[in-house]
Subunit: 284 residues, 4 copies
Amino acid sequence: MITRGRILISCPDQPGIVARVSQALYELSANITESAQYTTNPSGGTFFMRVAFYLMEESDTLEALHRAFKPITEEFQMQIQIAMPDIRKKMAIFVSKEEHCLLELLWQQKMGTIAADIAMVISNHKDHEDTVKAMGVPYHYIPVTPETKYEAEQMQANLLQGNADFIVLARYMQILSPLLIEQFPNRIINIHHSFLPAFVGARPYERAYERGVKIIGATAHYITEELDAGPIIEQDVARIHHGYSVSDMKSIGRQIERTVLARAVRWHCDDRILLHENKTIVFN
Amino acid sequence: MITRGRILISCPDQPGIVARVSQALYELSANITESAQYTTNPSGGTFFMRVAFYLMEESDTLEALHRAFKPITEEFQMQIQIAMPDIRKKMAIFVSKEEHCLLELLWQQKMGTIAADIAMVISNHKDHEDTVKAMGVPYHYIPVTPETKYEAEQMQANLLQGNADFIVLARYMQILSPLLIEQFPNRIINIHHSFLPAFVGARPYERAYERGVKIIGATAHYITEELDAGPIIEQDVARIHHGYSVSDMKSIGRQIERTVLARAVRWHCDDRILLHENKTIVFN
Amino acid sequence: MITRGRILISCPDQPGIVARVSQALYELSANITESAQYTTNPSGGTFFMRVAFYLMEESDTLEALHRAFKPITEEFQMQIQIAMPDIRKKMAIFVSKEEHCLLELLWQQKMGTIAADIAMVISNHKDHEDTVKAMGVPYHYIPVTPETKYEAEQMQANLLQGNADFIVLARYMQILSPLLIEQFPNRIINIHHSFLPAFVGARPYERAYERGVKIIGATAHYITEELDAGPIIEQDVARIHHGYSVSDMKSIGRQIERTVLARAVRWHCDDRILLHENKTIVFN
Amino acid sequence: MITRGRILISCPDQPGIVARVSQALYELSANITESAQYTTNPSGGTFFMRVAFYLMEESDTLEALHRAFKPITEEFQMQIQIAMPDIRKKMAIFVSKEEHCLLELLWQQKMGTIAADIAMVISNHKDHEDTVKAMGVPYHYIPVTPETKYEAEQMQANLLQGNADFIVLARYMQILSPLLIEQFPNRIINIHHSFLPAFVGARPYERAYERGVKIIGATAHYITEELDAGPIIEQDVARIHHGYSVSDMKSIGRQIERTVLARAVRWHCDDRILLHENKTIVFN
């Protein structure tokens, strides 16, 4: 019987952290499968570490791990997250009309490359109801109009309460309520259809076309209160040329968007992302 | 005896342009080696075309070509450029402290991939004097201070007058005089060390670092009066991650900058670039 | 009423081809939307051209086009294909167990980026029957064993006869019958899961892992009798490192495979591909 | 006074390695700046680790480090390399006619991105003598003919003996003597002008052209006795199309070759490369 575990830590950097952490894992008879670390500065900076491991004994539960690490986290003023990958995260997907990101997430989840359970899909359109329900996933149609915005947000919050660990905005074209942003701090992943910080806001492809850029991109980031300004998780790009219409760019863009978003979601599920100020540290 | 030629045209799109142009070349016994065209819209848009060819008879001079195309340009309200690649363009390079773009241009010119003569290098520093002179290229050291700015610009303009066909700013860190921009309209190529329109202006790598982007880039563009807003010729990018310091980014960035700039200069020399509003059409 | 058309030509290069072709299109009042050409050598080489256009009059049918071009094709010993995009090609998809390429084709066809009708899916497994039938596409389960190979091939050939214009092998893991290859010359597109010509044949990811390459890829090509040796249509790659297992490589590889295959199929449907010896000319 | 150090280890994987190594570094008061590890399999595989650190006391010499790690290396049957980056490696560059890789290495060394001393350049041509000598680097012209091959190799071996730590073949077009390969095991870096294992051997661009590939590449690898079959350090690629002649491909290829080779050399100098069977583990 094998129990898999992951530890994510951050703390002020100082000598001895790795020695203590690895000693603790050794005493728990952990077999380390991956380990990565990063320091902003070995004197006076912040230290980040991710360790993935497995334990051979069933009794080594989450509690035992927390107990073992308690003295270390206190000594080093450490923030620690201990995750058991066998306890899968619950993901809620928000989507509007465009389906490519939704389909990619559904498919990669089914393939096992995204290691999460899909708790529900919430949409302000009915378009994807059949597709989603056919996969056994609850679909909540919650239309949003200026008049119903408040009630819609309440309904969303109620549905999510206790049922989702994180949210993915898979081309959801409504501004998210601050209520939800507060409820899921650094646990809402958005895909923005430009290479941020270029073309913040609406109609990025149209603006890229007008500016005459030679490369377009997409950006997955955690949502914060400021529009398109949250910590960037992943970006990718594709080359275009003068002959691409806005519609061609959107078509190419869809490929980038779904790939970038799926990567970001996979890393989030695999506990590969740590936050430092407004930036991500991605151990991948 | 072979004479090589290139024709760049733009005009309101309408049926029959290609037929007339290719008929004229046929009557001149031209052997077409490359031909590319683009229309913003076949009904009512603008049509662009580039034809590279050679003529078997020595007598087919530039004049003969202009004469042959005169009725066509009039009929189609065509803007036409006729270039003979054997008459090489004269390039002036401006550079400040950083040498990587300068070296790349010198090397690619020597290798023959950049088909231009280097008329001179102008710098506000003495650093590259030996390197440049060793290659037999005149080097003009023109320091620029707030007090001497006006005289410096006059000196630059005088040196360039009649001696250069276009200018390359190879990491020249001074704002160029409007005088020069007017003197060389759409014939000044700059390399900006970011993926425009992200990080317009100073210190782009520092700002990319602060924003936490996962990809950095560089942009070659024609200079216009508005800072970093001229027509983009070429861009490229490289992937980075959280572990890259500003200094690492600059180091990676140098590779992108020199490659992107050299490509843009090569295309300019090979008459591959047409302008449409604030955008480039690059037939490459 | 608009009729869209495309002409693909190849012939021995000589002066005057473009003039004659464009004159003929002009006389048909064609509005040219795209035109591209390539010559292996303007003296004595082969000339290739693709023109996309539309005609404003309904009466300009396929027949009229063929009539208009008959004297030209004779004069220049031209091979010509005239296609009307509104008459969509019929595509048959072959697939085995892995679904990613199949799903991509189904989705892009539904989105309209692949402009073909899906005539049928043929598989040696039952796995995808529900998915395919739910989209209204016929699914033919034809198991292949050493004993039934001949009958299976006969069944395939019978199903395809008159019902398919081209075949896509979307990770079909059986060697295709020479019968089919003959029946669909240069009209069977395969996706090979390596960067050809590296790792021809079986188990490319395993062999890439053993060789320790730092980049993996996929290749879409037309099938010929020699294994993995047909004309390459498109390739793409992704960066890996020492930490990638064979399984990780397969997972990354799936993203490349489906993208590369879908691109190749799109270009085939859009009549963008010409053949020259064992190579493709792709006007995209 | 700061002393910088790096440790590279490999050993059979088992629990406790990291704990012991990091404890030893802690006891030496080392400040860890980078640490990376990799296991082929936590049960029964091979474990690899690289740690970069600095020590605050001058007395912590190489010897002290070796002493501190002796019990650990014995306990874990560990292979260990301890490097002090302030003791720079001595690099010998071999080059034939093509200069682009040589120039890149010279420039990056001067810029400080390649942290090695250039002990000498050896060439079978005189072409680069002036360039190299102007940088204060000894240039040895050793022509190689079938008749003089043996003497040439003896001369090379004698020049290198005690004067070089590793060799870079910067487009050196002679087969290297087994004598040298034995003298510098896994310390000769070659750039091969194809995406290995495609196009092993001579004339890779010509063969890539004939095969009609859509992407070309270059590969930096350690030399072994078998041609182009040694451990791959780094690869990169560039997209081409049907319009590229062999000469165009060589021109694009030069950009890839010099970049890939320079990266591999930098990593070698920075002690980022470990070997496992015929593969590299690159901690970058």
